[in-house]
Subunit: 133 residues, 2 copies
């Protein structure tokens, strides 16, 4: 077997492609906001700061692990600020930064497309399922 296998060739190409992808800002952002909890937290924090426990109740379905993990990630990316108030029961508030708030219009644009086109998508989906099942 002198020639490289298809898998080997693809592996080489993938290396460069992954590097290209990793450098792509749009993909980085998509990876971030496409996260289920990030988008929900963005919405929850849109109308003012909230405490950890408030967020926990607002989002309802989230586990502490994911709530903490997601908030940490967003804080790291400068999308939210974390403010600890030393009291007897500790108090922690989260708030959108200007950067985080600037993401809201983008979410709105996505939402707008979704709301106008979701019917067409679901119709196409039903049509597809009908003749293929």
């Amino acid at each position: 077997m002198v020639t490289r296998t298809a898998a080997q060739r693809r592996a080489g190409e993938r290396g460069r492609y992954d590097a290209y992808l990793a450098a792509c800002p749009a993909r980085k952002l998509l990876d971030r906001i496409s996260d289920k909890w990030v988008s929900l937290l963005l919405n929850a924090l849109a109308d003012g700061p909230q405490r950890y426990s408030e967020l926990s109740r607002t989002i309802a379905g989230v586990s502490q692990k994911m709530l903490t993990q997601t908030l940490r990630g967003m804080e790291r990316d400068g999308l939210v600020t974390r403010t600890v108030t030393a009291a007897v029961p500790v108090r922690v508030d989260y708030e959108l930064t200007p950067l985080g708030a600037s993401l809201l219009p983008v979410m709105t644009a996505i939402k707008a497309w979704a709301e106008t086109n979701i019917d067409a998508v679901e119709q196409a989906r039903r049509a597809y399922d009908r003749h293929s099942v």
Copy 2:
């Protein structure tokens, strides 16, 4: 143990919340376009129809499994059309539908935000990492 545990209460709330989420058009759309391969295919198909093998080479890093699976999903949602030309070697072309094409501006908006703000995000990230490591 008379009262329900926190987990039990959350489970109930999650049921309603999941239902709410499932009904949310914006989330459905996000789930779809946030997919790594969907966004790449959208871009690849932006400037005209392409054959299966062409897409395979354009995207480079994708496995046949994911390429086929993703294209099927997009076809189901009415974002692309699949045209089979019966010839000696079979020929299959994929093309964006108007619905699929209407998604491109949204992707552009996301890309625009990403390109103007990615520096701020990465700077915040470095600052965060510096004082916490």
